[in-house]
């Protein structure tokens, strides 16, 4: 018997026609073969997802969510329709966002393409993959902590029993993951995320 691959279905939800068009164009660019469905309002999205349960991917622009309670809205969509793969497009990622994927409005073309590619080709969230480009590894957190506390590369190397080169590599990765270059900026990040305590930071 011939095995027939089921066609993928993707919903593109945004109030703005230009956003939907842009997403469609980029999907075409990265060669996603999927049936595309567009919705322009939140109600329409809800109706659509209720009617058709076979959606695989949801690309959702935050403009479609009800103002004031965007994170709740999003959670509702995700939980009610069992969508594992949703990517959000918006200004700023919500804290504890239910979506694993996010595209910021300020992303460049390349970043958007990269993120969409990750979204479609990365292993599914339920397959337990913790490779979020923004989260630091435990080792990186150790290094960040030491940097924020004001230790030099040499001191950090001694403390963590690694070479100075390794420290430098970790620092490079931290900076590229967080987009923060200065030591005082990194200290603020570490404090915000409780990697160090205020008393420790002088």
């Amino acid at each position: 018997m011939e095995f027939e691959e089921r066609k993928l279905h993707t919903v593109i939800a945004s109030e703005q026609y230009l956003v939907r068009l842009g997403v469609k164009t980029l999907l075409n660019v990265i060669g996603i073969e999927s049936d595309l469905h567009e919705v322009g309002t939140f109600d329409e999205l809800e109706y659509f997802l209720q009617k058709d349960e076979n959606m695989d991917y949801l690309i959702l622009s935050e403009d479609i969510l009800q103002k004031q309670r965007k994170p709740d809205c999003l959670e509702y969509v995700k939980n009610s329709f069992g969508l594992n793969t949703t990517i959000l497009i918006g200004k700023q990622q919500f804290s504890n966002c239910v979506c694993d994927h996010f595209i910021s409005n300020s992303c460049s073309r390349k970043e958007v393409v990269d993120k969409l590619q990750q979204f479609f080709y990365a292993p599914k969230a339920n397959e337990q993959q913790e490779e979020d480009s923004h989260t630091l590894s435990d080792r990186e957190k150790d290094v960040l902590k030491a940097v924020a506390l004001g230790f030099s590369n040499k001191e950090i190397a001694d403390q963590l029993f690694i070479s100075i080169n390794t420290v430098i590599t970790h620092r490079k990765n931290i900076t590229s993951k967080l987009g923060i270059k200065t030591i005082s900026g990194l200290t603020v990040y570490a404090l915000m995320h409780h990697i160090i305590k205020a008393e420790e930071a002088m």
Partner: protein, 246 residues
């Protein structure tokens, strides 16, 4: 990109690029220019038109390189302008940003208020950095530049000045001229990526807009120092050395 000339209409320049507004106000030029040209407006306000144009053009077009107009104005107008710009940052921009941060801190919920407090300290540190940077320029660099010009005008050159040109020329400053934008970029990143969402979105948006503008302005300011002031000073150093046959 087309450059503005002394015959360009002032109003058209601003309509083309509104980001030039803070620049013209630094020269004391006010709106309501009717159909006056750059030359006319400058004559009214006693502003050196050649220099004014250099500033407008390099601010307007980041690839603009002011090669053949460097001789058209004295460094003292330039130093005046740069000093005014420092004052504008410290007296107008920085307090403005601090106001927004304070407001956000007040309006945020407890947990986030702590985060904003961290950003506030970070920005205060930044403020001290730029204050020191500006102070150094105003205390050491600008007087040196003015001295060079004075020497050429009065034919009266001190031994110290010659020594300074030889051992501590403007090139030294050029090499150590550190970037003031890195910390601003970090601050933007912290807000955009890591600050949990706020209920006062508008304030946050204003704050970011202010930060983007300040960053752009400071970049331009640095470029001005590096592309207009420094080449001009190098030229003066050369002239002094030649004149005194050292």
């Amino acid at each position: 990109m087309v450059s503005f000339t002394k015959n360009s209409k002032m109003a058209e320049i601003i309509l083309k690029n509104y980001q030039l507004l803070p620049i013209i106000s630094r020269f004391g030029i006010k709106l309501g220019f009717g159909n006056k040209t750059v030359e006319e407006v400058c004559a009214n306000k006693n502003v050196n038109a050649a220099f004014f144009l250099e500033i407008l053009n390099s601010y307007h077009n980041s690839n603009y390189f002011p090669d053949n107009h460097l001789g058209d104005f004295n460094v003292d107008v330039m130093v005046d302008y740069l000093t005014n710009t420092h004052t504008y940052y410290l007296k107008s921009k920085v307090p403005h940003i601090q106001l927004f941060i304070d407001k956000m801190e007040r309006e945020a919920q407890e947990e986030n208020s702590r985060n904003i407090n961290l950003l506030k300290h970070f920005f205060n540190e930044y403020k001290i950095d730029i204050e020191n940077h500006f102070k150094e320029e105003e205390k050491h660099i600008f007087p040196y530049v003015i001295d060079l010009e004075k020497t050429l005008n009065t034919n009266n050159c001190s031994r110290e000045l010659i020594d300074k040109i030889k051992h501590e020329p403007i090139e030294v400053y050029e090499r150590n001229h550190d970037s003031l934008e890195i910390k601003l970029a970090d601050l933007k990143n912290l807000i955009i990526r890591f600050l949990p969402p706020l209920s006062c979105e508008d304030d946050c948006e204003h704050l970011l807009t202010e930060l983007f503008q300040l960053e752009y302005d400071i970049e331009e300011h640095t470029r001005m120092e590096e592309k207009v002031l420094i080449p001009k000073v190098k030229m003066l150093e050369q002239k002094v050395l030649e004149y005194y046959g050292v």
